[in-house]
């Protein structure tokens, strides 16, 4: 009894193996269902039909179909990251100001949590009922004598998708920025004021520079958030708009590119872009924690 008990001791692990055993399931599972699938795609993208090594599929990424899909995806992600970032920041600023009732703030926080998770089919459906061809707002405009769809607007186009993506984009900005804005120390403002700074100067020279890494980082996070989104676009356009994620989806169901190797390369290229975005985000977030942590 006593011997068995003294074996279970803290401190330096008795055997290396035993202490690794606790994390083994995690690494095995991640290898099987997270890393493995990505590595397989990478491997296949470098394999020619005879099983040899080739870079031809990576070279073909510059083909028109692929460049068009990547191009629209990047443009959509940039646009929604920028618009969602600016508006989300303003909204977070508005509630952090302290001028609004406290209830507004907690309602907005909870709502942002809901909306940032409200992607996919229901979101697409909600916008179809609002701004689709027979949507309520479309009908309202018709009553006012404006035919939205004749005048060039379409929910199933680039700008329509921007409008829909913003629904989960700027709440995410609010959620990430609010703690940052709260982290601005009172002393900084007081110190600036004592030195004779106007509110504008305080924001330009103190608050914004401190917040900037966080703002930029979160916008990059939003970029990745939009870039990897598939369900919402699929439910809304069914694949009319050639986004990179939709192209990959079509490649899964059938070889639409007539080139499986290229399909793998498109998927891996996507992972690389996401990796760069998330990488920059975490570096910037760490930097902003120095001041706001």
């Amino acid at each position: 009894m006593g011997g068995a008990q003294s074996k279970r001791r803290l401190g330096p692990p008795r055997t290396r193996l035993f202490s690794w055993l606790g994390v083994l399931p995690f690494f095995l599972f991640s290898a099987a269902f997270l890393i493995g699938p990505a590595v397989i795609l990478f491997y296949r993208s470098l394999e020619d039909p005879e099983g040899g090594f080739t870079l031809q599929f990576w070279g073909q990424l510059t083909s028109d179909t692929v460049m068009r899909a990547y191009g629209i995806s990047v443009r959509l992600s940039l646009t929604t990251a920028l618009l969602g970032g600016v508006f989300g920041f303003l909204l977070a600023w508005a509630v952090s100001l302290g001028a609004l009732p406290r209830a507004v703030r907690s309602a907005l926080t909870t709502f942002s949590g809901v909306a940032s998770n409200f992607a996919g089919v229901p979101l697409a459906a909600a916008f179809i009922f609002t701004l689709g061809r027979v949507g309520a707002i479309t009908a309202l405009f018709e009553l006012l004598g404006v035919d939205l769809y004749r005048s060039g607007f379409s929910l199933y186009s680039f700008w329509g998708l921007v409008l829909v993506y913003l629904y989960f984009q700027f709440p995410l900005m609010v959620l990430v920025m609010l703690p940052g804005l709260d982290g601005l120390k009172r002393e900084w403002r007081e110190a600036a004021e004592n030195l004779g700074a106007t509110p504008r100067q305080y924001w330009r020279k103190v608050a914004l520079p401190v917040l900037m890494p966080s703002i930029l980082g979160t916008m990059i996070l939003l970029f990745g958030n939009a870039f990897g989104a598939h369900a919402t676009a699929y439910a809304l356009t069914g694949g009319l708009l050639p986004l990179a994620t939709l192209l990959i989806g079509q490649q899964i169901s059938g070889d639409v590119l007539n080139n499986p190797g290229l399909g793998y390369a498109v998927a891996v290229g996507m992972v690389m872009i996401m990796a760069i975005a998330i990488g920059i985000y975490s570096v910037l977030q760490r930097r902003s924690e120095r001041w706001l942590g």
């Binding site: 397989i40 100001l97 309520a136």
Partner: protein, 279 residues
């Protein structure tokens, strides 16, 4: 997958800033009103549509039809089972790992953190592509039958929940003194399993529940992975409904919204800042 965050109540103790100038206050209100309108408009119009299933009257016919649809009941309950299975799987993997990393292998923390962030880097559509290519051919052939594909789906969901689950559990572990609790339990003769089950798990209850609820909210209506693994779950069901019916999808969308809302509301309630002073 879309990146999501649970609402976190921050800064409840921070004193309000000095009253801002009138112009700022007006601008703040304008921004909030614009945000609220944009948030609510799609919900209100969807709600309006969902009530119009019977001509010239407002009523709950669309909801009745959805709930009476056997395809809804089947796909929804299947999704609930999948979500619960994914949550349990994720908990069983993440809790011991986070505990172990905190207690014994702090050097591994960056590696574990990096891996748990991978679902943000590998979009769902790429993940399912890789899974199909990895398990869709001999010798594994997990995509051959509906049930084996379902296993794959649950594993994918568990993997996709890692960022939320790990962060939640890690925050929970940081909030308590793991080392002292473990030492105390050990000096009383508890085994590792007992410590995890009777000491660590109960102290992590709120953290585990938030992680589980967030996972549930994300997984319940998930479309992409289910679609390509040919699963008849709630997400694909909603997508079909949206294409084939008029009023039912509106009711459906609001139900899905209510589920997300319930999950997030519960998290906010569970993680609300506690009053330190005894009442």
């Amino acid at each position: 997958m879309t990146i999501s965050t649970a609402p976190v109540q921050v800064g409840a103790e921070i004193p309000p800033a000095e009253p801002p100038a009138g112009r700022n206050r007006l601008f703040a209100w304008l921004i909030v009103v614009a945000g609220v309108v944009y948030f609510l408009l799609p919900l209100v119009t969807t709600g309006y549509w969902s009530l119009r299933a019977v001509k010239d009257t407002l009523g709950f016919e669309a909801y009745r039809r959805v709930f009476a649809d056997p395809a809804f009941v089947e796909s929804f309950s299947e999704s609930v089972v999948n979500a619960i299975a994914a949550i349990i799987l994720s908990l069983l993997i993440i809790v011991p790992t986070a505990y172990w990393v905190t207690l014994r292998l702090p050097r591994l923390r960056p590696v574990v953190e990096f891996i748990t962030l991978l679902p943000f880097v590998i979009p769902a559509v790429v993940l399912v592509f890789g899974l199909i290519r990895m398990y869709g051919r001999p010798p594994l052939l997990l995509t051959r039958t509906y049930d084996s594909s379902r296993v794959l789906l649950v594993c994918a969901y568990a993997a996709l929940s890692f960022p939320y689950m790990y962060r939640s559990v890690d925050n929970g572990l940081r909030a308590m003194d793991v080392r002292t609790l473990t030492e105390a339990a050990q000096s009383l003769g508890a085994s590792w399993v007992t410590i995890l089950r009777k000491v660590i798990f109960p102290n992590l209850r709120v953290a585990l529940l938030s992680g589980a609820l967030l996972t549930f909210a994300i997984v319940i209506g998930e479309l992409t992975v289910a679609l390509f693994l040919a699963q008849h779950t709630f997400g694909p069901f909603m997508a079909n409904l949206t294409r084939s019916k008029v009023y039912e999808p509106a009711a459906m969308a609001l139900v899905a919204f209510a589920i997300t809302w319930a999950a997030m509301g519960l998290i906010a309630f569970l993680t609300r800042p506690r009053q330190k002073v005894a009442r």
